[in-house]
């Protein structure tokens, strides 16, 4: 932005750069942006792995010899295995209804589906405590009937489903809207049943968008901390997910173990980013999001 002062940028010498900054300005701006990102985003990621390995590979592996770590991993996988398919089915139903049909109140419905994204994770967990906690709306009824939701798997699944609720739907809705209904109509005129058309025409058309949203949904489901922390009760070996296990280890000053377990989640994040970037690069035309880059 310094041409005005700088004698270097004489327009006549480089007519191609009329709509850009001078080389020096560009280099400086790139430098600032990259340095800022390296310092603020990449360094913390790097720190996870260096801290995890700071006492050598043996200490790193010790973190996974603990049964509590394994129970946390099992619980996280279980929760994701329920929450992600649930959101896939919901996302398919919601996007089918919203993208393929015209009805009043559609934009309100989309806003409501997006709602969980604008609620603090802690509040997302809290609303289930208000319903199912011992002092909650249904609390005494649940106790009378011996049903445990809070501080158990159902509560953790509910909180996870809530925070990941919009992921699949908000990717598939614009994708299906863009694709319209012509191909489905063509399939129907050729004699296909609705289900057959969905399976052979709609699903193949949205497969990459679906995979993309499942990736992001899964990363969030496995990594969710605030909402799950509120509903889990932090019972070691029972209701601790991986992020909660990390928290406990860290608060016990067991840093190497905390970072070792955290490195699992960091690796998941890296894999997610790599696959996400790959999908954006390879199938840009078949995704609703991530097209601009």
């Amino acid at each position: 932005m310094s041409e005005i002062f700088s004698p270097v940028a004489v327009p006549a010498t480089k007519p191609a750069q009329v709509a850009s900054e001078g080389a020096i300005t560009r280099a400086v701006l790139i430098g600032i942006a990259v340095a800022f990102l390296a310092l603020f985003l990449v360094l913390p990621l790097f720190a996870v792995f260096t801290q995890a390995l700071s006492k050598g590979i043996g200490a790193f592996l010790d973190a996974f010899r603990e049964p509590d770590a394994w129970s946390a991993i099992r619980l996280t996988l279980t929760v994701a295995a329920i929450a992600v398919p649930f959101n896939v089915v919901f996302g398919l139903a919601a996007s089918w209804a919203i993208a393929k049909f015209e009805f009043p109140g559609k934009s309100l419905l989309i806003t409501l589906i997006d709602l969980p994204f604008s609620v603090s994770p802690v509040v997302s967990g809290m609303i289930y405590v208000l319903l199912f906690g011992s002092q909650g709306l249904f609390g005494s009824w649940l106790i009378d009937h011996g049903i445990q939701i809070l501080f158990a798997l159902p509560g953790i699944v509910l909180a996870t489903v809530f925070v990941t609720f919009p992921f699949v739907a908000r990717e598939l809705i614009p994708l299906m809207q863009e694709q319209g209904t012509a191909e489905e109509e063509a399939a129907l005129t050729l004699g296909a049943s609705g289900l057959h058309a969905f399976r052979t025409v709609t699903l193949p058309n949205i497969r990459w968008g679906l995979l993309y949203s499942v990736l992001l949904c899964n990363a969030r489901a496995m990594g969710e901390f605030g909402a799950v922390s509120v509903v889990s009760g932090h019972i070691r070996g029972l209701t601790n997910t991986i992020p909660l296990h990390v928290e406990i280890l860290y608060n016990e000053y067991n840093f190497v173990a905390a970072f070792a377990v955290a490195s699992l989640l960091a690796a998941l994040a890296l894999i997610t980013l790599v696959l996400k970037s790959f999908l954006e690069w390879r199938f840009a035309g078949e995704l609703a999001h991530g097209r601009a880059h």
Binding site: E185, A187, L188, T189, T200, P204, N205
Partner: protein, 356 residues
């Protein structure tokens, strides 16, 4: 043309009957009590400006939209309540709606593969039929390609083959050549006519292009604002347009103030060769085509004005004349006489139409 005396022999030849169909979208009426008979084996064009309801009519025949009132009959059977899958129509969509993720062969085989196991032809049979259709659309060897690897005209042909594969009762085409450039469009038109002549497939197509409808169709149905204005052979609708709307829609025309008197039509007191409809008396509007105007000496002319410009297009001399009110009239004259701009001329009316 409504020679319905031979009702007995006429009946079996009606492939599709549209009976008093009305359709309203939201609050806008799209079709008003429209009736139309389509004869077996004919190629009929639904012609109309955008918003005339022609695509809606096509979709109602296919079962993609439901009429608010009225019936659709296939032969003698009421098809109004039939689901789109049960109608056995071949529909070619305006933008083809090819399945992007399937090869050309899989696209064509789709309708056969979608059948219940009991009705589905054997794999080898499907393969043979796909091969035959690829030959028909002159794309043999393209079976393994994907739609994105084809040109617009090739996609159009694949869409047609896909629709024909299910051996439909009727072939429905929505603006079949709308998305193609001029030369491809001409070739495909001729080719579609050939295919039709060879297969005898009852075909309805929608278009807003007069030339396309007139060149291709056995009969043309002209629609305007949800109403059927006229049905007839291309010659009939051109020679005897049923209304001013049809007349205007089928080509350039000039509107001239005239007087009808005892079957004759007078312009500025001079007689014209035009015959007024029975019972029409007094001031009328006379519609004249550019080629029905001829340059003439002012004293024997019906109209007068000055030449604005003249140019040659596709072998014809076209002269633009401004009349006394400043309106521009197009005249087509083959005399080959060139007039300079500003030259005063008279115009003689050699034909035209007056509507009751």
């Amino acid at each position: 043309m409504s020679s319905r005396t031979a009702g007995r022999t006429d009946r079996p030849s009606t492939a599709i009957r549209v009976e008093d169909v009305s359709k309203t979208f939201d609050t806008a009426a799209v079709l008003h009590d429209l009736s139309l008979d389509v004869r077996a084996g004919e190629l009929i064009g639904l012609l109309g400006p955008s918003g005339s309801g022609k695509t809606t009519l096509l979709r109602i025949i296919a079962g993609l939209d439901a009429p608010d009132r009225g019936r659709i009959l296939f032969g003698d059977d009421d098809a109004t309540g039939l689901a789109v899958q049960e109608r056995a129509v071949g529909f070619v969509f305006q933008h083809y709606a090819l399945f992007k993720h399937m090869s050309v062969a899989d696209n064509i085989a789709y309708g056969l593969n979608a059948r219940r196991r009991a009705d589905r032809p054997a794999k080898a049979e499907i393969k043979r039929r796909v091969g035959d259709l690829l030959d028909l659309i002159r794309l043999s060897g393209f079976g393994d390609r994907y739609p994105s690897q084809l040109s617009g005209g090739q996609r159009q042909r694949v869409a047609l083959a896909r629709a024909l594969a299910v051996e439909p009762r009727v072939l429905l085409l929505d603006e079949p050549f709308g998305a193609l450039d001029a030369q491809v469009r001409k070739d495909l038109r001729r080719w579609l006519r050939e295919i039709h002549d060879r297969t005898g497939q009852t075909t309805i197509f929608v278009t807003h292009d007069q030339d396309e409808a007139l060149e291709l169709s056995d009969r043309v149905a002209v629609l305007d604002r949800g109403r059927l204005e006229q049905v007839g052979t291309p010659d009939e609708v051109q020679e005897n347009p049923a209304s001013a709307t049809v007349m205007k829609f089928l080509g350039d025309s000039v509107e001239v103030e005239a007087i009808a008197e005892g079957g004759r039509v007078l312009v500025r007191g001079r007689e014209t060769p035009v015959v007024a409809p029975a019972g029409t008396i007094g001031p009328v509007k006379l519609y004249v085509r550019p080629w029905q105007l001829q340059l003439a000496e002012p004293e024997s002319a019906h109209l007068s004005g000055t030449v604005r410009s003249s140019y040659r297009t596709q072998g014809r001399q076209r002269i633009e004349v401004a009349d006394a009110e400043g309106r521009l009239l197009a005249v087509e004259d083959s005399d080959g006489v060139r007039y300079a701009a500003g030259h005063p001329v008279g115009l003689r009316i050699n034909g035209g139409h007056v509507f009751g």
